[in-house]
């Protein structure tokens, strides 16, 4: 168990170093960073001085070591456009993205599980067929289109919800939350739906398939023969066994939710890391691009590691197969 954890941790570090190399090379190969900093008509002497101050004349391995050493301590340099430290910018924007991602995931899971269970238990009802149709829409429509349609319907036509922004936020320490204000909660609704819709259809279909599968197994049949109530069978036994793969998938998908947040944040002008990244790409602000890449990779890798470990903890059958040498 410990050996397994250590092995996975070392693999994770390897992935981070690989990502670090890629984001470092962005600085060197995606254009001359000096160009981004000085005015167009700077003299060669000025440019040489700036190159020296940024350490661009040192050998490449040394520059990479310095870059990675700084990154590990969360020192990502200064943004070209904002002239502020990138770490500060990311810290400022991270709560917005994380809140949105968590709300979207909760929305997706709650609705997905409910709809999936219903369509498994009442397979031929008309409501189940509607759910199937909705899931098709959720998968086929692109995120930005869903976002714009929702804005048009709820903000312009009905006027119930805001069309952009995060509303009023409450600052607690370094975290800003929109959950404690009315306008913040209202502002969270449309972006969460937009971001979570794809996830929701995925979970719904997964739960439905898993549930149907589980309901066909022997032990469910024996439980019915034994005389347990339908409710005890469906929710006590079948659902519990369905949820394990669902939670695994949802957890792994969390990383991609954060990644897809870029589009949702752009449509709703949500002040999160994704919007920051899009603006950085448009303005060729390489420090932000590189830092965002590293942060998102860290999140992905951490989640995967945690899910892998949790999976073996939750499912006893896997533990023995792992402790045996491969």
């Amino acid at each position: 168990m410990l050996a397994f954890t250590l092995r996975r941790a070392i693999q994770a570090i390897g992935v981070m170093i690989a990502v670090g190399i890629i984001s470092f090379s962005m600085f060197r190969y995606a254009g001359d960073p000096v160009n981004q900093i000085v005015a167009l008509d700077a003299s060669p002497a000025e440019r040489a001085a700036i190159r020296k101050s940024l350490g661009l004349d040192d050998p490449v391995p040394l520059q990479f070591a310095r870059y990675f050493g700084d990154a590990v301590r969360f020192k990502f340099g200064v943004s070209y456009q904002f002239r502020e430290p990138v770490a500060e910018l990311l810290k400022e924007r991270m709560p917005a993205t994380l809140e949105l991602a968590v709300c979207a995931t909760i929305f997706a899971m709650v609705l997905g599980i409910l709809m999936g269970v219903y369509s498994a238990l009442r397979r031929d009802s008309w409501l189940a067929k509607i759910f199937q149709a909705v899931s098709l829409i959720g998968i086929s429509l692109p995120t930005f289109l869903i976002g714009i349609l929702l804005i048009y319907l709820f903000a312009v036509v009905l006027g119930w919800l805001p069309s952009f922004g995060r509303g009023d936020v409450v600052r607690i320490g370094w975290w800003t939350t929109g959950l404690l204000t009315v306008s913040g909660l209202k502002a969270l609704i449309l972006p969460s739906i937009t971001l979570g819709l794809f996830q929701m259809t995925l979970i719904m279909r997964l739960v439905r398939a898993e549930m149907l599968e589980v309901l066909r197994t022997d032990y469910i049949r024996f439980a019915r023969a034994r005389g347990l109530t339908t409710r005890a069978i469906h929710f006590g036994h079948a659902l519990k066994n369905t949820l394990v793969p669902v939670i695994t998938v949802a957890g792994l998908q969390f990383g991609s939710v954060i990644a897809f947040a870029i589009i949702t944040e752009t449509v709703f002008q949500w002040p999160g890391m994704g919007l920051l990244f899009v603006q950085a790409v448009q303005n060729v602000d390489i420090p932000i691009m590189a830092a965002y890449l590293l942060m998102v990779s860290l999140i992905f890798v951490t989640i995967n590691l945690v899910v892998d470990i949790l999976y073996t903890v939750v499912d006893p059958r896997l533990r023995s197969s792992i402790s045996r040498p491969a």
Partner: protein, 528 residues
Amino acid sequence: MLAATIVSIVSIVSLATTPASAQTLRYANQGDLKSLDPYTLRESTTIAHHGHVYEGLTARDKDLKIIPALAESWETPEPTRWRFHLRHNVKFHNGDPFTADDVVFSADRVRAKGSDFQSLVPADAKVVKIDDYTVDFLLTTPNPILIAQWDAWYIMDKKWAEANDAVAPTPVSATTPSYASLHENGTGPFTIESHQPGVKTVFKANPNWWRKPEHNLKEIIFTPISSEATRVAALLSGEVDVIEPVPIQDIARVNASANAKVLTGPELRTIFLGMDQIRDELLYSNVKGKNPFKDLRVREAFFKAIDIELIKTRVMRGLSTPSALMIAPQLFALSKDFTRPKFDPEGAKKLLTEAGYPDGFEVGMDCPNDRYVNDAAICQAIVGMLARIGVKVELLAQPKALYFAKILKSGNFSSSFYLLGWTPATLDSHNVMFDIMGCRDDPASGRGSTNVSGYCNKEFDAITDKVLQESDTTKRDLLIKQGFEIAAKDFAYIPLHQQALAWGVSNKVKLTQRADNQVLLYWATKQE
């Protein structure tokens, strides 16, 4: 900690439920406001924002005429000496009095390393304080349009800058942000109450402003909204009062809505095409050994192949004004003496044949796709028009960050045929003649620094130099006309049109639209 949170929740909830005061104006722009330092970024939206909190020695009124601001009056006792008499009893937002020391300090700071506005005050000009309210600028050569751009050169408070370590304009590799990029201290009609770069900026009216306000606003809340659909939705739903720009395809929709209208008018920006006339062989063409654009007939053929009225009706939906000149007619008094050569595809084909290209040739075209109104669509239309005369154009449309890096000086002017837009920063023809039409054979002089095509006519340059020194306006305009006639005969460039401004404005707001596209809300009034 908990108590503080509870208090803030209660206050914010109560704020959320009270209706916004009618004197709060909400403004959303496509771009955002990053740094509050007025010398960091020379870009018209940023300059407009800073214009609400900072002021220069001069300003421009609603018709773009130069009017006194922090300088009450000025004179030139000698051609190389400008004397400015400063306004009395002006205070910065923190209470510091405005004096000549601040002007001298700002002149040094604007020319320092890290400033994007270095060309606004000549590098070799000496700035001398005569007394607390008089400053002299001593130049090495006469410059009748010295103050033409000074409505964007904002005066900063010397004491405040020195006290907060903000003497250098936003240092390059700092580990802590510059004070001036997050705080402001100007003399203008508004102060900045809070600023989250790229998210939201709140302006509050300055009760101690020295001018009598024409606006009735207590507060301006600025939020950037980069997604076009969202920005229009926010205007239609009433969440914002002013947006800029309104995408062309949504103009009819906004005008048809109940609570907003679109203000349109010609912008000062002239959109034009340029052709590489300096290289011996084009970088992106199938013609080897010679450069077709060096032949006047080929340039004329390209000009005559373009149906600008079709571009206006189909691509710009009527929102453009075809140009005959490389400068907007509002900025040049004798522009009515110029007419645009007629669209003539048959004549163009004949010219090409005469020049030795009966079957046309292939050429690559560079175009931005997110800088000007419908820029990529205009280029695509031009590709089709040139195909009619036998020229096969391969279009490369890119985002502006890549496009400008490729075609400007820093990219070694790597283009054979390109589209560009230009508003002369001085609002004067000399800027156009010097920067984009002057020979670029002498980089140290600065001439032709944005002359991507390499057009070079020594006679034209001589006239440009005379224009700079001529103080008599009538003579000057005649010289400019002479210069433009030479360039028009040479078919140096292909001016296309002036694009239109489109500001979305709520019906509750009255606003003046200035042709340089600066959204200045100190001229806005909002009714209950």
